[in-house]
Symmetry: C2
Subunit: 207 residues, 2 copies
Amino acid sequence: MSTAEETAGGETSAWGEVTPDAARRLLIAAVEAFAERGYHATTTRDIAGRAGMSPAALYIHYKTKEELLHRISRIGHEKALDILRTAARREGTPAERLADAVSSFVRWHAGGRTTARVVQYELDSLGPDARAEILALRRQCDAEVRAIIEDGVAAGDFDVLDVKGTTLAVLSLCIDVARWFNVDGPWTPDEVGALYADLVLRMVGAK
Amino acid sequence: MSTAEETAGGETSAWGEVTPDAARRLLIAAVEAFAERGYHATTTRDIAGRAGMSPAALYIHYKTKEELLHRISRIGHEKALDILRTAARREGTPAERLADAVSSFVRWHAGGRTTARVVQYELDSLGPDARAEILALRRQCDAEVRAIIEDGVAAGDFDVLDVKGTTLAVLSLCIDVARWFNVDGPWTPDEVGALYADLVLRMVGAK
DNA sequence: CGGCTCGCTAAGCGCTCGCTCAGCATCGGC
DNA sequence: GCCGATGCTGAGCGAGCGCTTAGCGAGCCG
């Protein structure tokens, strides 16, 4: 748990579904290592060492190093999709729902930067089958955001030239937070979330 | 040259400063390989093979594999800085200069996606000294964009809540193009450049 | 034409990688 | 109190890594 604090920010519970305990410790260690050095630069000895185990212990819970990345990526994308879906389907005007989606999505990328980095930037390290599965989740994320923007356009609340392109730009803006956000920097995740919600409302021409 | 077309898009000449010819071929091969598989997943045998040489030939022109990445990163960042500086210092209103900066910066990231990917996403694979040198170039890129936005605010043309944060978001939006842009996708680099210039003018509340 | 330089190759060194396997400690069921 | 299942370790395998070195052939200079 103590090693998980840095990693998961306020979202340690996100890994609660991973059992048994040793498998969860290995997974959290892998998230930290992948985020710090990248998937290919991380060794199985490093992961096992961070989890306080011998290198061989990893292979009791996971078939390969890639399976670890796959599990991390799927759980992370499901969490991201859940965040967007919750915001998209709540009550409120399209502008309120879009602002909610962006600010909570950004808070997740900033606060859980370690996890988000792995989830968003190590996709190409997966094999073809696993990558295809994850890409399907990404398309669902895209669909949720696009639905809000389309609602806003249909209601006359938004003024958008290219719905598809704008949707992509909004998601792109949020995702890139995981690349540059620094815990020791001048902003809290909440502040970045609020700033970005304002910027996105401007991008869609919210009235 | 034929191998360079895919890589550099319309910017093959960007590597013209690298001599002799064998060193340039190795560097272009490295850009392609790093962009496809990432720095750590690329082997020196792969780079040499793409350049039509034996693995040992690499070490006649470069001391280490990391020196290749360092050279690629420095040349790429200098080119990116040049693009932003040219747009920032031309004649015109702040809105015109910002639109020019964003559209040309985005065109570079989309058209030269292979190069841009390496330049923007493999920074952490450099050692501390090389990374520090590159980060200095990045801060200069940031300063150029911020100067345009500050000009617009001072002139009363822009309406911005947080200049520093908005500058970061604008650059972040442009840089992330290198991650998602697909040459076979629905947009040309010019189209993305135009769309993004419009979105950024909305973000700064251009009148 | 002989000899030197320069760009390159074939071979391989030392190392670390992902992963395996035989064996040991622990513990619940009977 | 014994027994098999479970979770883990220590040792190490084969492969592939970054990089080195000895030597070879082409080209220029005298």
